[in-house]
Symmetry: C2
Subunit: 352 residues, 2 copies
DNA sequence: GTGAAAGCGCTAACAG
DNA sequence: CTGTTAGCGCTTTCAC
C-alpha cells in the first residue's frame, strides 16, 4: 500500500533475499538469466521492501543512455504553444519519441532564458534544435554536449550539424508569384519577429539582406519574384507568429492609403489573424483584399487560406530519425518539399 | 572548434592540470572556493581537452536531483497537442518549469502505450499527472516512484496524492442552468471519450453514473439541473476533444427530428466544431440553435462562445508549485474556481 | 545459473 | 584554498 517514500536499493533487495546484486539486476533486465522461482522470490522481496525497479539515473549513468530526446525551442516554451506551426512540429517530434518508447525533454531556451544551465543539465541521448536565431547561446551550449544534434529550420549552416528544413526561399517565391500573377501591386508583408537590430520601418530589401533565419529566406524568395517590378511592398513586424498579432498588424497595414490589395504573411498564424481583421473591417476576401499564409496548418484549410504547405510534423519525425542514426560521414541536410495550395483567400487584384 | 565528440571527464582535467577532482568540480560549481587564476587555468585545460562541464547524469545521481519535471499525459502525446485546452495546460506547466530553470519531460502514457517503461526510466524530480483514466497502468507506475506526484483533473480521489482541479460538477451545472433558463428542452450533449464500456447509445444518466473522470463529473452537474424536468438530452460520444470530431458529431446530432435547440458540449474544442457545423448547415446561432462549451480557451472568445471559464494554465502552475513544496501532513486538494461566461452563442429557444 | 570485482562520472564532508 | 576518502545505485565482464 504505502510506497514508503524511502529509498530502497537493489543492494538491499539482494541482501534480503541472500543473493548478489547481479542476480537482482538480472531479475529486472534479463529474466531469462535466472530461474523463474528465484525471480519470483526476488520480486516479492522487492515489493516487500518498497523497491520498484532500478533507479533510472543510476541506470543511465551506467548504460550511457537516457531514453529521452531533448528539444530546444527558440521561443519561450510558454509562447511556443501559441504558434500552431510550432505545435505541429512538436507533435511530430513527440510522435517519433512515443513510437520508440522515449520521453521528450523540453528544454527552455527562449530569449529571456539567460543562462544555459538547463541545456547543460539535460539528461538526453540527443538534441533537436528548433528554429533558433543564429549565434544563439543555447545552440552554442548544445554544441558543447557530446550527444548528436539536429537543427530544424534555423540556423541553416552550422558546420558539422545535421539539418532538416524546407527550401523556404523557393516556397515563398511560389506564393509571391501567385499573388503577382493575380495582378497585385500593393502588398503588405506581415512578418514574425525580425532578427537583428531594426529601424522603425523595415523594408523588404533589408529584411531579405539582414535576417539570417527563416524569415530572411522567405523574404529573399519574395524579393526574387518582386525583383525590379513596380510593386510596393510594405513590411510589418508582428514580433511573433500568432493570430492576434497578425490581426493587429493587418489593421495597421490595411489603414494605409491607398490600401494594399494583398496581405502576404510569413505564416498561417499571422494570416488567420489578418483574415479576421478583414472581416472586422467589412472587407471581402478576396474581392477587396487577398490574404496568403505559409505552412498550411490545419486551421488554414478551414479558413480557405491560400498558402504554401510544408510537412511540419514530418520535420519532427525526420529530425528524430537522424538523431537515431548518427552520420557516418559529413553533415546531412534533409530538404523537404513545399507546395503552393490555392484556396479562396486570393483572387485578382481589384482594378479600382 | 571540433568538440571532439569524445568523452573527457572531470578526472582527466584534474590530471592534466595537476589538481584534485574536487578542485575541478569547484571550478564549475563553487567558483568562490578557488583562486581566479587557478580556475582560469582549469577552464582552459578543460576547453583544451574538450571537456564542457560535469556530466548531467552523474551529477544527478550524486545530487539526487534531475532539474526536470515529468508530465504524464492521458492522451498520446501527439494527440494531446490537438486539444487546445491540453495545450493551455501544457503551457502553464512549461511556464512554471521555465521560471524555475527546469526542463519539462513529456512522458508518453497514451492508451496505446502498453508498457510503463518510459515512466520508470524518467529522470525527474517529480511527476505531474494530467487527466488519466482511473486505474491507469501509468498512474500505477508513477505511484511506485519515490518522487512527489500531483494529479490534475483526473482521477480525483487517489489516496495520498495531491490534486489540482476545478469543481467540474458545479461548473457544468452553471451552464446547464443557463441553457435551461433560456427555455431549451431538446438538448444534444456532445462528450469527449467516455471511459468504460458502452452500449451504442449512451444516455445522460448512465454517463453520469459510470464515467469516473471529468466527464462523469460534468454529466452529474448537468443531471443535477436537468433533474426530473421534461428535458430530452441526447448524448453523442466524440471519442476525443477536437474541433473536427465535434463538427462531425454535431452534424449527426442536428440531423435528428425534431432538431435539438441547443448543443451543449463537454469542451470548447467540441463546441467550436459544432459552431462550424451549424454554419455549414446554414443554421443561425443562436436563433436556430444555441451552442455552449467549457474551458474558455482563447478561441472561444473570438468565436463568441458561451462557456465556463476554468483557469487552465494556472492548474499547471499550481501543480508544479505543489511538487516543489511537498506536503507535510495529508493530501492537498486545490480546487480552482469556474465562472459562467455568456457570449453570443446562446439565446432563447425558438418556439416553433 | 550465480557471484565478485570494477567501475560509470561526479560531489560532499572533513582535514589540512 | 586544496586534497583525501567515500560513496550515489546500477550493470557488466568474467570466472565459478
Amino acid at each position: 500500500m504505502d510506497p514508503s517514500r524511502r529509498r530502497a536499493t537493489l543492494a538491499a533487495v539482494a541482501a534480503a533475499v541472500g543473493v548478489s546484486r547481479t542476480t537482482v539486476s538480472n531479475a529486472y533486465n534479463r529474466p531469462d538469466q535466472l530461474s523463474a522461482t528465484l525471480r519470483k522470490r526476488i520480486l516479492a522481496a522487492a515489493a516487500e521492501l518498497g523497491y520498484h525497479g532500478p533507479d533510472p539515473v543510476a541506470r543511465s549513468l551506467r548504460m550511457r543512455t537516457a531514453s529521452a530526446v531533448g528539444l530546444v525551442f527558440g521561443d519561450s516554451l510558454s509562447r511556443a504553444f501559441v504558434d500552431p506551426n510550432a505545435v505541429e512540429f512538436l507533435q511530430g517530434v513527440a510522435r517519433a519519441c512515443e513510437d520508440t518508447g522515449r520521453s521528450l525533454l523540453l528544454v527552455p531556451a527562449g530569449p529571456e532564458a539567460t543562462n544555459t544551465e538547463t541545456v547543460q543539465r539535460a539528461a538526453v541521448d540527443g538534441f533537436v534544435v528548433y528554429s533558433l536565431p543564429p549565434n544563439d547561446r543555447h545552440l552554442a551550449a548544445v554544441r558543447t554536449r557530446p550527444q548528436p544534434i539536429v537543427i530544424v529550420d534555423s540556423p541553416r549552416d552550422v558546420p558539422d550539424v545535421d539539418f532538416v528544413g524546407v527550401d523556404d526561399r523557393v516556397g515563398f517565391a511560389k506564393i509571391t508569384r501567385h499573388v503577382l500573377g493575380l495582378g497585385h501591386r500593393r502588398i503588405a508583408f506581415l512578418v514574425s519577429s525580425v532578427t537583428g537590430v531594426w529601424s522603425d520601418a523595415p523594408d523588404l530589401v533589408s529584411v531579405a539582406e539582414r535576417d539570417a533565419g527563416v524569415l530572411g529566406e522567405r523574404a529573399r524568395g519574395m524579393q526574387d519574384e518582386v525583383g525590379a517590378a513596380d510593386v510596393q511592398v510594405s513590411v510589418w513586424d508582428c514580433r511573433a507568429s500568432a493570430p492576434d498579432l497578425g490581426a493587429a498588424a493587418a489593421r495597421e497595414a490595411l489603414a494605409a492609403e491607398p490600401r494594399p490589395t494583398a496581405v502576404v504573411c510569413f505564416s498561417d498564424a499571422l494570416a488567420l489573424g489578418a483574415l479576421q481583421t478583414a472581416a472586422d473591417l467589412g472587407l471581402r476576401v478576396p474581392e477587396d483584399v487577398s490574404v496568403t499564409g505559409f505552412d498550411d496548418v490545419p486551421a488554414a484549410a478551414a479558413a480557405g487560406l491560400t498558402t504554401v504547405r510544408q510537412p511540419t510534423p514530418e520535420k519532427g519525425r525526420r529530425a528524430v530519425a537522424l538523431l537515431d542514426k548518427p552520420a557516418v560521414d559529413g553533415r546531412r541536410v534533409v530538404q523537404l518539399p513545399t507546395k503552393l495550395i490555392v484556396r479562396g483567400s486570393t483572387g485578382p487584384a481589384g482594378d479600382e
